[in-house]
């Protein structure tokens, strides 16, 4: 994520997308993409009962 004004700000964000993985919520079934960490919670119901799922992109 970068930068301040002008051409230098015009960057691709492929790095962020490569870091993100799919998760599924064990409570409400919501699927979402998240950059992995110890604190992943479902953005819909806020449950911590979430697990990684593999998905073809």
């Amino acid at each position: 994520m970068c930068s301040v004004g002008g051409e230098v700000l015009d960057v691709e964000i492929s790095g962020i997308e490569q870091l993100a993985v799919y998760f599924k919520c064990g409570e409400c079934g919501n699927e979402f993409r998240c950059i992995e960490s110890k604190r992943v919670r479902c953005p819909a119901c806020h449950s911590a009962n979430v697990s990684k799922v593999s998905k073809e992109e």
């Binding site: 930068s3 960057v11 964000i13 790095g15 950059i35």
Partner: protein
């Protein structure tokens, strides 16, 4: 280590630019691209770092406002697509995570790393780490650090 709690903002003031730094507070943040939403779950001691070109009162108020909008109001990070005309209008940009590297020599399309934040030349190469109870800097050779109230 420079102490920083959840109620404070650290300002690193240079001659041409200013950085505003707050604790991320262990919240979830949202990165919105033109294609999808990506969730970023941060640790309490991770940092939100805002970089502004300028050192006047307006820039400092702007840094605080941007960080407040993100952390306290819950505004998402907006990731503009490449070639978007708004890219050249932005005065303040933000990075989030446990480590941020300041660079003044970002070349479009050449930085897959996600911990680089554009800053003024005097802060080029400075690394900022969120550590327990505070902030650590590496390669910092100038600038004035102030701790000010945030919330």
């Amino acid at each position: 280590m420079i102490p920083l709690n959840d109620n404070e903002m650290l300002l690193l003031k240079g001659k041409e630019g200013t950085l505003g730094i707050v604790k991320a507070g262990g919240k979830q943040y949202f990165l919105e691209t033109d294609r999808e939403e990506i969730i970023l779950a941060l640790e309490p001691d991770d940092l939100l770092v805002a970089s502004g070109f300028g050192t006047d009162k307006n820039i400092i108020s702007g840094l605080k406002c941007v960080l407040y909008m993100i952390r306290e109001v819950g505004s998402p990070f907006i990731v503009l697509p490449k070639n978007h005309p708004a890219s050249k209008r932005l005065k303040i940009v933000v990075s989030a995570g446990d480590r941020t590297r300041i660079s003044c020599s970002i070349i479009p399309g050449t930085h897959p790393e996600q911990d680089i934040l554009c800053g003024s030349e005097e802060f080029d190469g400075v690394e900022i780490f969120g550590v327990k109870g505070g902030v650590e800097f590496k390669n910092l050779t100038g600038g004035k650090i102030e701790r000010v109230p945030f919330v």
